[in-house]
Amino acid sequence: MSDGSSDGTASDDSSDGTASGRGVTGWLRGWRPAVSMASRNLRRNRVRTVLAVLGVCIGVLAVAALGIFGNVLALGADDAIGDIGTQVVVSPNADAGVESLSAADVAAIRRAVDDPAVGDPAVVPLYSDSAVVEGASSQTFATVYGVEEPGLAFEAAEGRLPDRHRQGAIVGAGVAEDLGVGAGDTVGIAGTQVRVVAVLAESQTFSPVAPDDAVFLPESAFSADGYAQALVVAESGETARAAADAIREDVNAREERVDLFELAAIVDEINEFFDLLSTFLLGLGAISLVVAGVSILNVMLMSTVERRQEIGVMRAVGVTRRDVLRVLLAEAGLIGAAGAAAGTLLTVLLVAGLVAATPAVDAALVIDPTNGYYLLLALGFGVGVGLVSGAYPAWKAANERPVEALRS
């Protein structure tokens, strides 16, 4: 009798050895019949399956759509305020008794930012005053700047910005509109008639310089002995911040000669807010996905209870617990995958429809690749929710003793 039992264990060991030796292909092969049986089981109670799939579909739709909405909002905001962070305005520190920026200060600023690591931003010093500007039929109060190289900081909508500003006036978009003037007209500034050489494009950025409501004259028009401020125009928010740091370090090394106004920090906060908003929206979506998971759990529990005898028969005729588990997990996974696929597709259609219906939304923001990440995330979550909610009923059914299951 003891011989018999040792024979039994020996043969079991060897069969275990071949099973593990089959490796990944064997593992995959075990799933094929499981998926085939699972899909037939799902077709048995179509209404219930469809409802469970619908649950996941809505959950995935919620996650993907809300995720994309949040992302588009953030991208849109970034697009609108993005340029804010690229300018640093350097002004004299009145608290330290510095009334204006001297040529030496401007040179110091130029030296500070003359570094490839900072992105080599342009430094545009400005004289500043204010005056009444007269057009043909109306007049307005505007800031008047003296600038030598306007092309470094501004863009023209009409006319051409000279490399060196020697004569004439460059008019901000707002002023030009108020006065109804364009390039080639004349405006009166503090009583002097000046020809308009260019009109600036409407400013996309928020800046204390407010170029829309300003008129730019050559430096020679000013007799002041110092600049009122200097604009540092960087390529990106990051380099702007680096430039500001460099100026603080170098120019303010011995005494606090200059004040820095940079919006990069504000942009960071705005971005943080949108990150928070995205997370919040994703969380909202996730709640519906959890509800979908519960519905899968419910469906799978119901279906394993109904099929208790069948599962018992499978176990009795020699189907292993692992294979029973596979069939049931495949069922839950298929519900999750079908729901996730449908939800993803619906999201694409919904977003496309919204873009088509809302001209205010920039299509370029919607086809941004980062939105794909939310689609993939939702897709993965959908399948994952299926598997996780299917795990308990599957485990429970697979581990039930066949003798109990057959008795019912």
Binding site: M1, S2, G4, S5, D7, G8, D12, S15, R22, G26, R29, G30, P33, A34, M37, R40, N41, R43, R44, Q309, E310, V313, M314, R315, A316, V317, G318, V319, T320, R321, D323, R326, R401, P402, V403, L406
Partner: protein, 247 residues
């Protein structure tokens, strides 16, 4: 060597009260290859428990269980599953075919998760049972007798040593029942031990041997040991050793 053998098998269930329910009481039972044994007895006498213990679905509380001479009394769940698959075929009163699978897939169910494709062999088996033209029918499209034939084919797919049948004719009319029993006769001719638990006198007619289970006590469990079956347990080992030679 017996195909399947129980020695002093006792099965107790924890009852509702203090006393456990004794479903099998010191049962000695053995079936040879190619033998058709009918187990009869009133309801609640322990017939189903006997079948479950023989079929490795349930373990005896005490005693030994041997399958082809190998001790299979205490196996892990996985080992029991493997042993069932390899050596035991089940036929149920309610057929218990999976409704989503076709006839041929139902027959191949025990091997469905194995690397090879046994569907050809399953089709051959079905053809043997006269269902060659019903291979792709689902159970709902088959008659009771046809379903039971599919179930028998499923039980035979792994060439088992033992075929266990629980009221195999219980849901069939007399004529169909007879044809199913005729199939059992063919099965036993291939050296498979057939054990059927039944109330049906018809099954008794076809059986080589009829044993009666009453309140968990089995009479005539081992052929040639009828005298000692209800005798003292002390001489059991001696008769067990002698039994094969006596046949």
């Amino acid at each position: 060597m017996y195909s399947v053998e129980l020695r002093g098998a006792t099965k107790r269930y924890p009852g509702g009260g203090a006393e456990p329910v004794v479903a099998l009481d010191d049962v000695d039972f053995a079936v040879e290859p190619g033998e058709f044994v009918a187990v009869v007895g009133p309801s609640g006498s322990g017939k189903s428990t006997l079948l479950n213990v023989l079929g490795l679905l349930d373990d005896p509380t005490e005693g030994w269980r041997l399958l082809n001479g190998t001790d299979v009394t205490e196996l892990s769940v996985a080992e029991r599953t493997a042993a069932r698959k390899e050596s035991i075929g089940f036929v149920f009163q309610d057929f218990h075919l999976l409704p989503t699978l076709t006839a041929v897939e139902n027959v191949a169910l025990p091997t469905a998760f194995d690397p090879g494709d046994e569907r050809d062999r399953a089709a051959d088996l079905l053809a043997r049972f006269g269902l060659g033209d019903r291979l792709d029918h689902e159970p709902s499209e088959l008659s009771g007798g046809q379903k039971q034939r599919v179930a028998i084919a499923r039980a035979l797919i792994n060439e088992p040593a033992v075929l266990l049948a629980d009221e195999p004719t219980g849901n069939l009319d007399t004529e169909t029942g007879e044809s199913i029993l005729a199939e059992f006769e063919r099965v036993k001719e291939e050296g498979v031990a057939v054990i059927a638990v039944t109330h049906d006198p018809l099954v008794e007619e076809f059986a080589d041997r009829v044993v009666e289970l009453r309140d968990g006590v089995l009479k005539g469990g081992i052929a040639g040991e009828t005298d000692s079956a209800d005798g003292s347990p002390s001489d059991r080992n001696a008769t067990a050793a002698l039994a094969p030679e006596e046949r």
